[in-house]
Amino acid sequence: MLEIRNLHASIEAKEILRGIDLKVNVGEVHAIMGPNGSGKSTLANVLAGRPEYQVTAGEVIYEGKDLLAMAPEIRAREGVFLAFQYPVELPGVNNTTFLRAALNEAHKHRNQPEVSAGAFLAMLKKKIQLVEMPDTLLNRAVNEGFSGGEKKRNEILQMAVLEPRLAILDETDSGLDIDALRIVAGGVNKLRSKDNAIIVVTHYQRLLNYIVPDFVHVLYNGKIVKSGDKELALELEERGYDWAKDEEVAAR
């Protein structure tokens, strides 16, 4: 479904990603871990097409297509979803209006009929239960004045509505209390299927107890230095990133 080959990317002439290779098959969940500043969000944003980043080398094939050649909104309509580490506030833009506009863009792109306001509201009622979000948040402006945890839930609500093929969750667990973590993770698990794939960026093994990954990768200084199964996360927790880095250095 997704194949990243030798991806290099920089921002403001500073190279952040220094040759990423990653293959994600449909139905898989991949976790990406790594210390602060190692480039996890950069990778997520480059995949989503954020214009501030320049891709200097490499390629990304998504569903057989050149992902990097697509405009960000086209990537989204093709099923790529990014749950932001820091969701942006959109003052004045009604959350429900926004969600429906987003869904209808995807529908138009796939030549599916638009969803009527009524049908959408009915659908939304079900989806908010998935993240146990109070429906008052639907009538507010997108993320405006939302607490950190509410913003994160709102991201997963959007994921639930848009049903992406490839979801990238950038530290969706950070800022969530223990109950919220369980709820949000539960929501993600319900959205997990054999027809989609999920990349979870996290610092905490705790999240991976709920969303159990098929693979775990360690990103260090713009490179994937170690990959393994879910046991790797436990090992990292015990031994720290230095251990993973040292292994890479030793391997060189």
Binding site: E52, P72, L90
Partner: protein, 481 residues
């Protein structure tokens, strides 16, 4: 330069959609202005002698005045002798309904996307269409006249209700008021007149679509709306104009009078031709709009959505004379490309316990300049006056400007005045967030801008709000990041 700025550039290259000239024969005077021209205008319109005199007095006063240059706009000097001061359609049919109208006119309205027929059906609106200075279609008049409401063109009012006109004309905006108002008083061609008698609630929105048509014709509309004791009326004004090469001057005057317990709502969606992307050929819109809350508990609300004109100079104001009277001003002023707007309001508190609210939303895109100029004056006798002002500016791209000039004058210690101002920019991160959800940059900007204007839009009558949203989207087309 980032991606969103590039989109701004792209947007800025859009063409004005309503550019077309309708082929209706016009009867027009030669260019230039002197006393004979004014007499001729008055004569052509078969006006009473006092009206002719009033025009002449205004003209003589105007000759002593200088064009104001205090606003934050720049333009080449206007040659007032190079303007045609009167143009009327040659065929001047008397119409009972739209079917009798000149098919060219109907076509023109259809091109505007606001066919009168649809307007009527949608909203039960009585439309008094001012087409190049002379009214050709006035509807619903009979239904209104059963209630004693007069709604007609100013020319007709001067024929059929001269005493009413005489009683109120120039009482809010005297012919000496300012340069453009004096000029208008001298040469006004037509406009609307509405009169709602004591205790009557006007059951429908009164609406006029203005349109400049004949080439190089300055437009000098004169509108007067009177609500007697306990009366209520909501008036809608909308306009678009076709493409021109030379700049066109538009200097309208609107006067509102609300007596005891009366309420007037005046809504405008303004979309004069703004000029091409270099600012060439747009309309100069120098308007004097003022309402007098003359009676106790009276209320006047101005709501405006401004998207057009090369230059806009406009300050709908309220004179709060009656005790407990209320003045409101809700405005969205959008400028793009090379447009310049200097708009705002004046709230003059004279009576006791008078209240005013100002909500101004400026949006600047392209290389445009958007200024808010607002005056709140609390006079000595205005005990317990209150004002709340909120002036927000939204910038799209980084070549445009937004300026706020609040003037506050308080002569009474019991006054409570509150002013809030914000400036925000549509951020690249907001655009990207929306892009990431499948929404294009154009639609992203629309969503944000509509959200930003919501407070003003909700003041507009439903069908007008839809139109305003559409116009705003159109003006934003090609302009945003």
């Amino acid at each position: 330069m980032n991606n969103s700025d590039l989109t701004v550039e792209k947007f800025a290259n859009e063409q004005y959609k309503y550019g077309f000239v309708t082929d209706i024969e016009t009867d027009k005077l030669p260019k230039g202005l002197n006393e004979d021209v004014i007499r001729l205008i008055s004569e052509k319109k078969n006006e009473p002698a006092w009206m002719t005199e009033w025009r002449l007095k205004a003209y003589r006063h105007w000759l002593t005045m200088k064009e104001p240059h205090w606003s934050n706009v720049k333009y080449d000097p206007i040659d007032y002798q190079d303007i045609v001061y009167y143009a009327a359609p040659k065929k001047k049919p008397k119409l009972n309904n739209l079917d009798e109208a000149d098919p060219e006119l109907v076509k023109a309205f259809e091109k505007l996307g606001i066919p009168i027929e649809e307007q009527k059906r949608l909203a039960g609106v009585a439309v008094d269409a001012v087409f190049d200075s002379v009214s050709v279609a006035t509807t619903f008049k009979e239904k209104l006249s059963e209630l004693g409401i007069v709604f007609c063109s100013m020319s007709e009012a001067l024929q059929h209700h001269p005493d009413l006109v005489k009683k109120y004309l120039g009482t809010v905006v005297p012919y000496t008021d300012n340069f453009f108002a004096s000029l208008n008083s001298a040469v006004f061609s037509d406009g609307s007149f509405a009169y709602v008698p004591k205790g009557v609630r006007c059951p429908m929105e009164l609406s006029t679509y203005f349109r400049i048509n004949a080439s190089e014709t300055g437009q000098f509309e004169r509108t007067l709306i009177v609500a007697e004791e306990g009366a209520y009326v909501s008036y809608l004004e909308g306009c678009t104009a076709p493409i021109r090469d030379t700049n066109q001057l538009h200097a309208a005057v609107v006067e509102l009078v609300a007596l005891d317990n009366a309420e007037i709502k005046y809504s405008t969606v303004q979309n004069w031709y703004p000029g091409d992307k270099d600012g060439k050929g747009g309309i100069y819109n120098f308007v004097t709009k003022r309402g007098a809350c003359r009676g106790v508990n009276s209320k006047i609300s101005w709501t405006q959505v401004e998207t057009g004109s090369a230059i806009t100079w406009k300050y709908p104001s309220c004179l709060l004379q009656g005790d407990n009277s209320v003045g409101e001003f809700y405005s969205v002023a959008m400028t793009n490309n090379m447009q310049q707007a200097d708009t705002g309001t004046k709230m003059i508190h004279i009576g006791k316990n008078t209240r005013s609210t100002i909500i101004s939303k400026g949006i600047s895109a392209g290389r445009s300049n958007n200024s808010y100029r607002g005056q709140v004056r609390i006079t000595r006798k205005a005990d317990n006056a209150r004002n709340y002002s909120q002036c927000d500016s939204l910038l799209i791209g980084d070549k445009c400007g937004a300026h706020t000039f609040p003037y506050l004058e308080t002569n009474n210690p019991t006054a409570q005045v509150e002013h809030e101002a914000t400036t925000s920019k549509i951020g690249a991160d907001q655009i990207f967030y929306l892009n990431q959800r499948g929404i294009s940059t154009e639609d992203a900007v629309r969503l944000i801008v509509n959200g930003y204007c919501k407070e003003v839009f909700k003041q507009l009558p439903m069908e007008f709000a839809v139109e305003a949203t559409r116009l705003l989207s159109m003006s934003l087309e090609g302009s945003v990041g």
